[in-house]
């Protein structure tokens, strides 16, 4: 994120104190998809808060991420219905396949993984969503197939460009 964008966001909060920290963090993440180190430092300078404090607050909440979103952002529903239908396994398969943990992004920047409480599609449990597209009743094999398809389509798209 360029400094000017952060400055722009900060300008929306004149005379902000530490109580404005979370709204500012949310705004930054809305625009950029994550909280960069630079953003944390800039916000710290503005609010006169140490980076450790800001990082401490941000990591307390699930909503903040510290890596840029992947090209394909996967959200895993860990709501009650999905849990009963085995979403814990779904998450661990995704983590294994992508070799990342929830909250992280693959090194090639293709996939990022996020856990959410409930995406309101309990009838489809266990459900994941990739860039807003829902995949219902996923299991081991389905997940591997979905990821394969995304990788294939992506490399075709890259070649065509």
């Amino acid at each position: 994120m360029s400094e000017t964008t952060i400055e722009k966001i900060i300008k929306k909060f004149p005379d902000a104190g530490r109580d404005s920290l979370i709204p500012i963090l949310q705004e930054v993440q809305n625009i950029d998809g994550y909280l960069s180190r630079n953003a944390v430092l800039e916000i710290g300078k503005y609010l006169q808060l140490p980076a450790s404090k800001i990082y401490g607050v941000a990591t307390f909440y699930n909503q903040f991420r510290f890596q840029p979103l992947g090209k394909y952002h996967i959200t895993v529903c860990r709501g009650t219905a999905c849990h009963v239908k085995g979403s814990a396994t779904v998450l661990s398969i995704l983590e294994q396949e992508l070799k990342i943990k929830a909250g992280q992004t693959t090194r090639d920047g293709l996939f990022s993984l996020e856990v959410v409480a409930c995406i309101g599609a309990c009838g489809l449990a266990p459900v994941i969503s990739i860039n807003g597209t829902f995949y219902a009743q996923v299991d081991n094999n389905k997940i591997r197939q979905i990821l394969r398809d995304y990788r294939k389509n992506d490399s075709i798209a890259v070649q065509n460009n």
Binding site: V40, K53, I54, G56, F60
Partner: protein
């Protein structure tokens, strides 16, 4: 005053005070793991909970105020059971290897487990495995031993004003770590070690150099030289059961000889040398319109603090190396040559009340001709461990004289051990340098004592000097902000990173409290009272060094060996 009842005993309490402080005064001890005197209670650990008649729940005594007629039971079965359960839960999430822990026998959690008779593992939990952060040259962070009491976070933020660490993540995944869960070496940590002093377990500890030192002591090719800091002789005694403030200067010399050190020197000598250089630098800055106010450079935590948070004040810091580094440079580049020793075979050890000194010794600037000034730094605690390991009975030690020439000191150099000491020593010598005569009364009362900020105007030969002494970084920060806002009546500022100075440093014995610090300070003052040589410029060994080697203060040789430079640091602040 109000009256409360504690364990069926009538006790007086002050309205508004917390139950815990009333209990303490009444001689009733309730354990705490997170309580910090003089700071707002955090109520994090709940170990101090007591039962109050008519209250449904147990009450955390550290953070609940007394009320008239309160009937408190500190040892009701319910309170005891609650405390024991908390201890058991903490242990369930704790590394179970006390025998291998540096705090074994000196750990607050262990002590509580003993006192409350924990005899079985009732809770089996999946413990989070955390990596061991050994990245810092001064402090080891081991989250596997952390009980999340938060004292380190609070001391770092509220006492030191650094905030290098904080609680990261939530719930069972919580850890104490620097911003972005980075390692300590790239954080804004200034290595002061105050977090180590308050840690109830072994989660934060000094990076030990004992192995390097014992290896060197038994290496026939190494010539091992030791120097010890001014604050050491008035604190080490506590580790051997003596009363706070006992001065065992000469006994320590004997202990060093019995440990096998080839030469024993006194850092107070190079404190005298520092004063000669620093006072000359101050006079020269004043006479040549240099950058003022000048700030002291002997406290390495403070140096890193300025480099990170106030780089605009780097030109204000005296270019003098600290006494530890000055003596290190002289040992390798003067003493070794005089004695016909190969500097590469000299192993130079410094015993310091400080963890930041470990960092300072590793700074790349602290060397000459690719030979490091200092090879290893041990804290007061590590030295005590070494003496005990080598089976040296402290009572059997007869006083010994240190080796010359770097064993000779004035009591001004000794005063470096406490806040205001550098200032007092500098004033004594600056007075002489400017007027060519001694002060009528050498004691400078205005800069003595443990107050946070001490200021005075001192007139020397018609020249009015504004001086300030900051005890603890937070107080220094206040002065820096005043200067930024335009204050310009100060010429010289002494800063000690730790509140109280080196006698309260991060390498000192655990359980250091205000009473002990006061006793140690008093010990320094009485040493000064009883000494014949009480000013740095009167130290004959320092004068000889100038005659034989350095020529004069701020000479080219001095600049090569005794002065240094600082640079802005990019860290997550």
């Amino acid at each position: 005053m109000i009256e409360i009842e504690v364990n069926n005993r009538k006790v007086k309490a002050e309205a508004g005070e917390m139950i815990l402080s009333a209990l303490e005064r009444a001689g009733v001890k309730v354990p705490t793991l997170c309580h910090m005197k003089d700071l707002v209670p955090s109520g994090a650990c709940r170990i101090c909970s007591v039962e109050v008649e008519g209250y449904k729940n147990l009450v955390p005594s550290c953070s609940y105020p007394v009320l008239e007629g309160m009937k408190i039971k500190t040892n009701s079965p319910r309170a005891i059971r609650a405390r024991k359960t908390i201890i058991e839960l903490l242990l369930a999430n704790h590394l179970q290897d006390c025998l291998y822990c540096v705090r074994n026998g000196d750990c607050e959690l262990q002590t509580l487990a003993i006192q409350y008779g924990v005899r079985e593992k009732r809770y089996l939990a999946d413990r989070c495995e955390h990596f061991l952060d050994m990245s810092s040259p001064a402090i080891v962070r081991d989250q596997n031993r952390c009980i999340l009491c938060g004292k380190c976070v609070r001391v770092c933020e509220e006492i030191m004003g650094v905030s290098a660490i904080d609680f990261i993540n939530r719930g069972s995944k919580t850890v104490i770590a620097p911003a972005f869960n980075q390692s300590m070496n790239v954080s804004s940590c200034i290595n002061c070690g105050q977090c180590v002093m308050v840690c109830p377990t072994g989660a934060l500890r000094e990076k030990s150099s004992l192995k390097e030192v014992t290896d060197a002591l038994h290496d026939p090719d190494k010539f091992v030289i030791v120097q010890h800091a001014p604050a050491l002789s008035v604190t080490l005694a506590e580790e051997f059961g003596m009363k706070p403030g006992a001065d065992i200067d000469k006994k320590i010399v004997n202990a060093f000889r019995r440990l096998g050190f080839n030469r024993v020197f006194d850092t107070s000598y190079s404190a005298d040398l520092t004063i000669m250089e620093e006072a000359s630098e101050l006079v020269s800055r004043i006479q040549s319109n240099g950058v003022l106010p000048m700030m002291t450079s002997c406290s390495p935590g403070w140096i890193k603090y300025v480099e990170q948070f106030y780089p605009e004040f780097i030109p204000n810091i005296s270019t003098c190396k600290s006494p530890q580094q000055m003596l290190g440079a002289l040992i390798k580049n003067y003493y070794a040559q005089n004695e016909g020793l190969d500097p590469a075979k000299v192993f130079s050890v410094a015993i310091m009340p400080c963890t930041a000194k470990k960092f300072e010794a590793k700074r790349p600037e602290m060397s000459w001709n690719n030979i490091a000034d200092i090879d290893a730094v041990l804290t007061t605690r590590e030295l005590a461990r070494l003496i005990k390991m080598y089976g040296i009975e402290f009572d059997s030690l007869v006083p010994n004289e240190p080796d010359m020439p770097f064993g000779k000191r004035s009591s001004a150099g000794k005063l470096f051990g406490g806040t205001g000491g550098v200032m007092e020593a500098a004033i004594r010598t600056a007075h002489y340098l400017i007027t060519n005569r001694e002060m009528d009364d050498l004691v400078v009362k205005e800069v003595r004592g443990l107050k946070g900020i001490k200021e005075m105007k001192i007139t020397i030969d018609g020249m009015v000097l504004g001086v300030a002494v900051a005890s603890g970084i937070m107080n220094a920060q206040k002065i820096l902000e005043e200067i930024k806002a335009g204050r310009n009546d100060l010429h010289f500022i002494e800063v000690m990173t730790c509140p109280g100075g080196c006698i309260a440093g991060g390498g000192q014995p655990f359980n250091t409290d205000q009473k002990k610090i006061t006793a140690r300070m008093q010990a320094l003052y009485s040493i000064d009272q009883n000494e014949i040589t009480r000013a740095s410029h009167l130290n004959k060994a320092v004068a000889d060094l100038y005659k034989d080697f350095l020529e004069k203060p701020l000479s080219e040789r001095s600049h090569q060996l005794l002065h240094t430079h600082y640079s802005e640091r990019e860290v997550m602040v």
